[in-house]
């Protein structure tokens, strides 16, 4: 595999509804931004780009099959190669990695990954029904298909086993909303408190409306290239910032569609097949886990995402990361629910399984220069969702993982101020970040690592 660089990106404004444009034209907003940001015009970029990967989740929302080719056509990319990827909430992350593969394999020198979702075409509860059809239509959906309900079941188990509290979950919401307050691309622009989260309407106990991301219309696009692609673009006049942003880690994992079917492994299996290198090498951590198992914990059950752990471990190994909390400057993490951000802290090895709740309220995942109105016990270490994440930015499914990639590129380029017109969300001296994309009840998960070259 050869080196792959993420050189530019664009994000449309995420909104509850974008009836002003068709999905193709919303994608073009993001696509044009990415091209303009490297100083090229549309025809020049069209001449150089080798192909694309399209990302969107649900044909139901668009009531349109083969929407990908309609975007390809609208963007003037025909007859160049292109295809659509789909993997639920992880569609964007999968798309980014498919574009990476196209370049890393030598198949393309310049590849654009674009994605969208227009969820406003149906009412919210019909939209929830469409999403719930991404659960087993024979055994899960008919029982009361509702993703917020599925995640709420996971967190009641997490609370029972590990003592996680609703206030700890609310810390995630406060963090992400307060971050997004400075992000002009975010769908939500409001500062909230722990009490606001708990006083919001209860959706699926114990998750309130402010524990849950919203449905959105929006699009995002990222341009990836090889060293040869870089030369071609620059020969055509592209202005690509140095140092470059390189994709250095790719990881993916999967798990059973029905979360009820997931295994409940013993301590030995967990330590052998799933523990991080850091966990394996620590006597204290091995003893900690031994104690958890003695008290009945089994892995992954429904409290943890085995796919997330597999994706993280694979990406960290690829990127040479041993201690993600201290070796990453930020993570854009798929926080469809406050509870799933907490579960994912553990999967990614930012803390140990069972310690996600205390980690959430510790302050380690917060930004240093934002007023959250909270008394945090510890200083920021690794910002999680500096953009505001899905909870506040919105979750137009096919665009979400690519939105994370765009924000990561801007963080590593040090250009947040230019794009956000506010530098409070710029992670200072950001050298390495990760993006995490997550589908279903943890069925497909991708983790990609991006680094600023030294």
């Amino acid at each position: 595999m050869r080196p792959v660089y993420a050189i530019s990106g664009g994000v449309s404004k995420f909104a509850k509804a974008r009836p002003d444009k068709t999905f193709q034209a919303i994608i073009k907003e993001a696509y044009d931004y990415a091209i303009a940001d490297i100083g090229l015009d549309f025809p020049t970029f069209t001449r150089i780009v080798d192909g694309s990967v399209a990302s969107y989740f649900s044909d139901h929302f668009t009531r349109q099959l083969m929407a990908g080719i309609m975007a390809q056509d609208y963007l003037g990319l025909c007859p160049k190669p292109g295809h659509r990827v789909e993997g639920g909430g992880a569609t964007g992350g999968l798309c980014f990695q498919e574009a990476w593969k196209s370049v890393a394999s030598g198949h393309m020198d310049v590849c654009v990954a674009y994605g969208f979702e227009t969820m406003s075409h149906v009412e919210t509860w019909k939209g929830n029904e469409f999403i719930a059809l991404a659960s087993d239509a024979s055994f899960d959906y008919p029982v009361g298909g509702f993703y917020s309900g599925y995640y709420a079941m996971m967190v009641t188990r997490h609370m029972k086993e590990f003592g996680t509290t609703v206030e700890q979950m609310a810390h995630v919401s406060v963090k992400n909303y307060c971050n997004a307050f400075h992000n002009p691309y975010a769908q939500k622009s409001q500062r909230i408190t722990i009490q606001d989260v708990r006083n919001a309407p209860m959706v699926a106990w114990p998750l309130t409306r402010l524990d849950i991301c919203v449905m959105s219309d929006g699009a995002a696009a990222v341009i990836l290239c090889s060293e040869e692609g870089l030369k071609k673009l620059e020969a055509a006049g592209a202005k690509i910032p140095r140092p470059l942003v390189k994709v250095t880690g790719i990881g993916r994992g999967t798990d059973a569609m029905r979360m009820a079917d997931r295994p409940h492994f013993d301590y030995e299996t967990f330590m052998r097949d799933y523990a991080t290198e850091q966990e394996k090498s620590s006597d204290e951590t091995r003893a900690y886990y031994k104690k958890l198992w003695e008290h009945g914990t089994r892995y992954p059950g429904v409290h943890s995402f085995r796919a997330g752990r597999a994706a993280g471990n694979m990406a960290w190994k690829h990127a040479g990361i041993r201690d993600p909390l201290h070796e990453l400057d930020f993570i854009e993490l798929h926080d469809a629910y406050t509870s799933s951000e907490i579960q994912t802290y553990e999967d990614l090895g930012l803390c140990r399984y069972g310690e996600g709740g205390p980690f959430a309220e510790s302050g380690k995942a917060f930004m240093p220069n934002i007023d959250y109105g909270l008394k945090l016990k510890e200083k920021p270490v690794c910002a999680v969702n500096p953009s505001g994440g899905l909870i506040a930015c919105g979750h137009p499914v096919g665009a979400t993982g690519l939105m994370q990639a765009v924000f990561a590129v801007w963080q590593l380029q040090g250009t947040i101020k230019k794009h956000f017109r506010d530098d409070r969300l710029q992670v200072q001296n950001a050298k390495r970040g990760a993006i995490h994309s997550h589908a279903g009840t943890g069925t497909y998960v991708t983790v990609s690592v991006l680094e600023r070259e030294s």
């Binding site: 009836p19 002003d20 444009k21 009531r63 009412e123 509860w125 019909k126 929830n128 029904e129 999403i131 719930a132 239509a137 024979s138 055994f139 899960d140 008919p142 029982v143 009361g144 298909g145 509702f146 917020s148 309900g149 599925y150 709420a152 079941m153 996971m154 009641t156 188990r157 609370m159 029972k160 309407p201 209860m202 959706v203 699926a204 106990w205 114990p206 998750l207 059973a256 029905r258 979360m259 009820a260 079917d261 997931r262 295994p263 409940h264 429904v302």
Partner: protein
Amino acid sequence: MSKLPTQREETLGGYIVHGVPFPVGTDDEAMEFLKKMTPIQIEQEYKITYLHSYGQDSPWFAALTNKRLLASRDPQSGYTYANPRGHDMYSGAETKWVDITNVPAKVHAFTVCYFGSEEFLPETPFVLALIEFEGVNTLLLTRLMGVDPQAPSLDWIGMEVKPRFLRNSKLKPTDVYFTPAGE
């Protein structure tokens, strides 16, 4: 040769619009003005009846109509799935059916849905639960009755429960639901 129709028949169904505002002229200025137009949105109905087959899982539903709850078991390892599964995910071998109707069962996790997907909104609030069974390796998603949806408690986790069956089977997984064992 008979004259072929050159005009489509006008009908009275669907949308009928007259006099939508539009510039009188089509000069450049008027054409540019069109870019300020608010979007036109129309309704599109999408209604389908699928013929869905339960395939090799059909005996599980047949059992529910007879007030029995089946599970799938790998004949060699004994690994048992509360949801039907034709083949074991570890050995790849075909599973056998086992009856777990009277196997001790407990609530593993739960929630109360106060909102839901459109199809289930009329049923809110309802309790979803994952049930664990003695000697069974995986869980079963079900509805839990006999608990107060307005007073959810983590204490429900670990509660012993028993299956109940609809008298009038609908051939759906909701033909079975659970209640506290003492009820």
